[in-house]
């Protein structure tokens, strides 16, 4: 550990998995998702990422950093994201 509170490594925030802070988590229903990306735009933690499921473009949340704020579920135009109890 350094003597001073300084980290001389780029991208070090990735190492701090802050996802454990949440009590509820977003769950995407792939069949409903239209891949519009509105959740990706609005996520304050920048933890929504694009992926494919059964050849279809959808969005999912990286639960290592998601704090469970629920904004993605709120803005989803087709209600494809539901907030569920995080049991971990």
């Amino acid at each position: 550990m350094s003597k001073y509170p300084v980290i001389k490594k780029v991208g070090n925030t990735k190492e701090y998995k802050t996802g454990a802070w949440k009590t509820i988590k977003p769950v995407v229903i792939p069949e409903k998702c239209i891949g519009c990306g509105k959740c990706w735009v609005f996520c304050p933690e920048n933890c929504i990422y694009e992926t494919t499921k059964n050849g279809k473009k959808i969005f999912e949340a990286n639960l290592d950093y998601c704090k469970g704020c629920g904004i993605c579920a709120e803005v989803c135009p087709v209600k494809a994201i539901i907030m569920k109890e995080d049991e971990e």
Partner: protein, 399 residues
Amino acid sequence: MVGIKKVEYGKKQVLSTSDAIAYAVRFCEPKVTAVYPITPQTWIAEKITELINNGEMDSELILVESEHSSCSAILGAAATGVRTFSATSSQGLALMNEVLHVLSGMRLPSVFAIASRALSSPINIWADHSDMMNSRDTSWIQLFCESAQEAHDTIIQAYKISEKALLPVFVVVDGYTLSHVYEPVFIETKQKVKSFIGDYKPTHAYLNPKKPMTQGPIGYPSEYMDFKLEQQRAMNKALNVIKETNRKFKIKFGRSYGNGLIDERVRSKRVIIAMGSMCTTLRGLEKKYKKTKYEFSLIKIKSFRPFPKKELLRALSNATDIAVIDRAMSYGNAGPLFIEVSSALGEAGYRKRINNFIVGLGGREARIKDFEFIIKNIGRESYWINVNGGKNISFSAVI
């Protein structure tokens, strides 16, 4: 008040303490200065803005909307690895409080001049040490001055101390009773000051796109306490840094202030411990009462943080009666300096008669006859001095 007379460098002349501070800052050339006006510090800020405006001083001046902002601006500037300066008083220092902890926690050097003043309420603009005691635990070095010359010299020393110890420094002068007093001051030259303090080379915190870094990240329970231990280590090391800087300053400039931490000139069995401008009055009385029944010696605490426990205990080794004069009060207990001295004595297992005097809160006059009362009551009962219409009231009678 400002700019009446041309100041000559490398010469002794009559100047106010605020001007003496401003010229010392000018010689140290902080790259960033951020100030917000507050009485009685304003004079220092005025002089510095004047020097910058006249092109006599090269510094980025940030005029902010509060002291919280000025301290934050200094924090940001210091994090890029440059020399910085600010000044404030009283409520301003109290408003800075949360950012003060961040500066010292990030181990960033900086120098702030403080014209110390009472805290509200009732609102009061005059001298006492309440604002300093309120920021006692911020991990800032606190150096108390008693003359214009000492203030001028301590600013110069402070930059060297701060950059070596990697802790920020307060240079404290009593509001009005020192900040607005005209005295003969030897104003140094920029060349001499520069050769003494050198260029600031940041060690751990700076802005360099080729070497990116995160400053002030989160400290989990697994790390936080270890950084705090480092801070205490730095404070302990600062004791030697202050002493060494004072010694080197004497070689270069021919002036020094005790050993840099405490100033004791004679030793007697009866001792008065004090800080700030009232030390000059006490020194006069020390001479007057020499070889009389009431003979005493004065110990001036210059460095309140770090507290020079070892040096103080050595100075008190033969003392039997000790009086501690406080210009602040820790309500519900006693004066803060008294508490410090008592704890140092207790820890070392010394048994001495010690008492406390609360003097001059909010600019209440500290008259010669008040000091004479103190001198005659060293080691007896503790008192509030010159209260309720000129009376001295013992601690036990405050009910």
